[in-house]
Structure formats: structure tokens, C-alpha cells
Amino acid sequence: MRQGRWLKVYSLTYLVFIYAPVLLLPIFAFNDSAIVAFPLTGFTTKWFEELWSATVMHEALWNSLYVGIATAVLSTVFGTCAARASTRFDFRGKKAAMGFIMLPLVLPEIIVAVALVVVLVQMGISLSLFAVVLGHVLICTPFSIAILSSAFNNLDLSLEEASLDLGETPFSTFFRVTLPLVAPGIVSSLLISFTISLDEFIIAFFLTGTDPTLPVYIWSQLRFTAKLPGVVSLGSLLLLASLILLLAAEYFRRRANKKAGTEGDGTGGFL
């Protein structure tokens, strides 16, 4: 298959293009030069040591963790209810309501950010990390719904029926049968929403008051050339964190599919 070989070469080249920028992070994070450029001058860990003592950055990190955890919990709660509703029940207006909830997926983030700023300022609520959480929940809920819908779709309804027939109440059925079966999906949703929130910039940029999140902090550093090596080393740590979170989420998603006895479609559950 000659055609197949050419396509393979093309696809591998494309992967290199996709990964090239990201691979620069670890290279320059350990490069002993204040300028991020070739030639490489030597190995150092001093940029990481600088990060260790950068107190403003530490505050930004805590802010991001707070926002990320709050966002992950809230959007997963919303997502669980909505995914359950859309996969298990049929009712009038379901399609329209679901379409509306999923709308933030296709809206430019700047529109979401602008709308939230306007309304919060009008209501006299000061911009803060809490405001960032409100915005992040809005954009993370659709992802939670997508992940959890596939978890609920794979659920065998007869298991719940059996539990009800055997005398369990609907409440205990949910906690003893349904929840354990979709638990991996819930963990995956928590991890994905956390990762999205941790990386999100525009909404945080508009809504955060005086407390920066990590991306907003990074943005403020980009203006200074001297700070770039520090940003690169911080970036490689973030890259590592994102990768770990992601692989964990993927692991749980696959377990969710396995538990339900299906293979899944291999698309990450987002389509």
C-alpha cells in the first residue's frame, strides 16, 4: 500500500508539528542562559530553584488550586445530574435545554467573559476568585456532561431494575448500584474540569480581581524578557501536571467503559 505509506509519513510529520513547541519547554527549562534561544549554553536547575522562592507565584498557584477544585466539584455535580437526565429520561424540550447548556462549548470565551463581567459589575459583586469559579463552571459543565453521558449510556438499566425489585429504595439504589458503576466517569470528569480550569486564561483574566490565577500570573510575566526562563520552567511543570491529570482521567474513563462491559469509541468521550 504505497498510499498508506505516504499518509503515514505525513501523519508522523504532522505529529512532530503538533508536539514541537511543547518539547521546547523541558529543553529550555534546564538551559543555563537568560535568553530563550539557541545555542544551548549548559545545564542548570537554577530556574526551578528560583520558582521555589517566588512567593507571588505560590499565591497564584494556591488561587488556581482553589478555583480548579471548586470548579471541578460544581461542574461534576451539575454534569452528573444533567447526564443522568438526558440519558435516562425523555421529556419535552430536552433537546433544546441540553443544547443551551452545551452552548459555552461553541461560544468564543471572550463573549462569556465579557457577559459575566458586565453582569457582575452591574450587580455590584466585586471581581474575585469566586467570580472566576462561576465562569469556569459554565465552560466545564458541558465537558462533564459529555464524559458522564457516555458513562451513563454504558450503564445496564436492568441492574438498577434488579436492585429495585429486590427491595432497595430508589435512593439506596442510586448510591449502591448506579454510583459505583459510574464512579470512574465521575473521577474522569473531576480531573478534566480541574485541568481545563487550571489552564483557562481569558475568563480568569477578565474576572479575577487582585488575586491572579496561575495563567494570569504567567501572562503578567511575559512582558519581561528576564522572566522568560522562569516562565519556561514553570510551564514545563504545568505540562507535567496536565499530562499526569490527563492520563489519570483517560485511565478512569477506560475503566468506566470496561466496568460497563463496552470498549468505548476511543474518541475520549467528547464527541
Binding site: 500500500m1 499518509l7 503515514k8 501523519s11 504532522y14 505529529l15 508539528f17 503538533i18 513547541p21 511543547v22 521546547l24 529550555f28 535568553i35 530563550v36 539557541f38 545555542p39 451539575f78 454534569g79 444533567a82 437526565a85 435516562r88 429520561f89 425523555d90 421529556f91 430536552k94 435545554a97 441540553m98 447548556i101 452552548l103 459555552p104 461553541v106 468564543p108 470565551e109 471572550i110 463573549i111 465579557v114 457577559a115 458586565v118 453582569v119 452591574q122 462561576l134 465562569g135 463552571v137 459543565t141 487550571l198 489552564d199 486564561f201 481569558i202 477578565f206 495563567p215 504567567i218 511575559l222 516562565v231 519556561v232 505540562l239 499530562l243 490527563l246 476511543g266 475520549g268 464527541l271
Partner: protein, 304 residues
């Protein structure tokens, strides 16, 4: 599925209690938290933006009398018109390049990869999960005057002077965006290719179509929904992108989102910013509808 309330008109209260136990009510109750949240945090704010766009900014407060002045300014001032058209042009180019570049890899994974499809998909999606801000920043580092690309090429002796055409302009914005949105284009195309019934391809071959004819007469038309979805997924958000033009665009690469942010920030003219944001949204929505509509007509004609 939904339970129909019993006929014979019982008391209204009884009927409502009956409805509360129905499937429909259960569905409503479960969906309502997410729905109400979206209503309060998205629909209401968007409505507020619409209202504000008809107001006038005074020093710290608004003059709340109705005016179309903001829209007049947004649509007639040459600065805003240039930025709007540039945003649409850049996004259009980004969309076309990204989708054309993405198609072959989606095709490869769908038709030629036998056992490692999930692995390929995972490999394609991983970079999308790393910070967008960082990826854009990295392109700045790569394409800058003393950047990685220029310093690397000089180091290798391939060029003497730094290349300048990749510096802080619209081209840089296109490269960066095409890179950032690649996975979004690949996935929908891949999914629609996966859905194609392989026996249709065999049928086309049996009926005498060569590989190229088969591709254009069977595969491509059937993959069209994915291509359209990919185009919209790339086009809609890139028009409103803020980070990329700001970081790598220089002055000639600035886009509409930058000026919108300016109105809400330093220029503190929220009504004008709102009018600009809404105008952009309406234009993008109109173009998207046009794309979907014309593709439907195209596929219908193909089917005939």
C-alpha cells in the same frame, strides 16, 4: 417514554402530583440545576450585554436612555471595520488550512491504522490539554527575532540574517492558530470517516470507480458532515481569539477581541465594547448558518 397524564380530568392537584412522579418530571428535576445555572450565568448576562449596548458610557455610570450610537460607531468607524474584516479573514484562512491539513491524518487513522486507533487519537489530543497560553507563548519564543527558529537556523549556517516575515504579523497568527486548533479539526473528521460503511467503498470499486474517483464520489461526500463540523469548531472560536493576536500578532495582527477587551479595560467604554462583541457574534453566527446551509444544498445536489 414520557408518561401521559391520565385522561378523565382528576383534580388539578392530583394531576400535578401524578406528573411529579412521571419520567418527565424526574428528567426535569435532574436537568434543572445545570439548566438554571446556564440561565442565570449565561442567558441573563448575555441579555444584559444586549441592554448595555444600547446605553451610553458616562464617567463611571451609564446614561440609560436608548441609543443606537454604539452600533453606528462599531459599524462605520474604519478602525473597527478593519479589525473585524481582518479577524474574519485570518479565521477563514486558519479554518481552511487547518481542515485541509487535518483531513489526511484523520483519513490515515481511520482507514490505515488497524490496532492502535485509540493511541493515535490520544497522541493527537494530548497537546490540546496543555495550557493554551503556554502554547501561544512558545510560538512567540520560536518565531521571535532572536527566537528559537532564527537562532537555530543561524547556528546551522542556513541563514545569515534572522527571517523577518514570520515576525509579529498576521502570518504568525495564522501559524499559531492552525497549530492550536489542529486536534479540534482532526477529531470530527475522524468520527465521520469512522461512520462510513466500508461496504459502500467496495461497492464503488466493484462498479468500476478508481481510487481517486471513489474518494471524491463516495468518501468525501460522506465525510462532509465532519468537515463542516470541523470548520465551524475552528472558525467560531478563532474569530474571537484574544491571546494569539496579542502575543504574536504585533500591530498588524491585532484582532477584534483585542479591541473589545480594550473597551472593557483601559478605554472603559463598556457599551461600545458590548456593541462590538454582539456585532462580531451576529456576523459569526450568520456566516456559520451560511456554511451549514450551503453544505446541505451541496450534499443534496450530490445525492441526486
Amino acid at each position: 417514554m414520557s408518561a401521559v397524564p391520565a385522561e378523565g380530568k382528576p383534580l388539578l392537584g392530583g394531576r400535578f402530583r401524578f406528573w411529579l412522579k412521571s419520567e418527565e418530571a424526574s428528567g426535569f428535576k435532574l436537568l434543572s440545576p445545570a439548566f438554571l445555572y446556564a440561565l442565570v450565568m449565561l442567558a441573563a448576562p448575555l441579555a444584559m450585554v444586549v441592554v448595555i449596548s444600547f446605553w451610553t458610557q458616562e464617567l463611571i455610570d451609564f446614561d440609560r436612555s436608548f441609543t443606537l450610537k454604539n452600533y453606528e460607531e462599531a459599524w462605520t468607524d474604519p478602525i473597527y471595520r478593519v479589525l473585524m474584516l481582518r479577524s474574519l479573514a485570518i479565521s477563514g484562512i486558519v479554518t481552511v488550512t487547518t481542515v485541509i491539513l487535518a483531513f489526511p491524518i484523520a483519513y490515515f487513522v481511520s482507514f490505515h491504522v488497524k490496532h492502535h486507533k485509540p493511541l493515535w487519537i490520544l497522541l493527537i489530543t494530548i497537546p490540546f490539554w496543555t495550557s493554551y497560553l503556554l502554547r501561544v507563548f512558545l510560538w512567540k519564543v520560536i518565531l521571535g527575532y532572536n527566537g528559537v527558529l532564527n537562532s537555530g537556523l543561524i547556528e546551522l549556517g542556513l541563514i545569515e540574517e534572522p527571517l523577518t516575515f514570520i515576525l509579529y504579523n498576521a502570518t504568525t497568527v495564522v501559524i499559531t492558530l492552525a497549530h492550536a486548533w489542529a486536534p479540534f479539526a482532526i477529531l470530527p473528521i475522524f468520527v465521520s470517516l469512522e461512520k462510513i460503511d466500508r461496504s459502500l467503498l467496495e461497492a464503488a470499486e466493484d462498479l468500476g470507480d478508481g481510487p481517486i474517483q471513489r474518494f471524491f464520489r463516495v468518501t468525501l461526500p460522506l465525510a462532509m458532515p465532519g468537515v463542516i463540523a470541523a470548520s465551524l469548531i475552528v472558525f467560531i472560536p478563532t474569530v474571537g481569539d484574544y491571546v494569539t493576536p496579542r502575543l504574536v500578532g504585533g500591530n498588524s495582527g491585532l484582532m477584534i477581541a483585542n479591541i473589545i477587551q480594550l473597551q472593557f479595560g483601559q478605554a472603559s467604554n463598556a457599551p461600545l465594547g458590548a456593541a462590538l462583541a454582539l456585532s462580531a457574534m451576529v456576523i459569526v453566527a450568520a456566516i456559520s448558518v451560511l456554511i451549514v446551509w450551503s453544505s446541505r444544498r451541496f450534499t443534496k445536489r450530490q445525492a441526486r
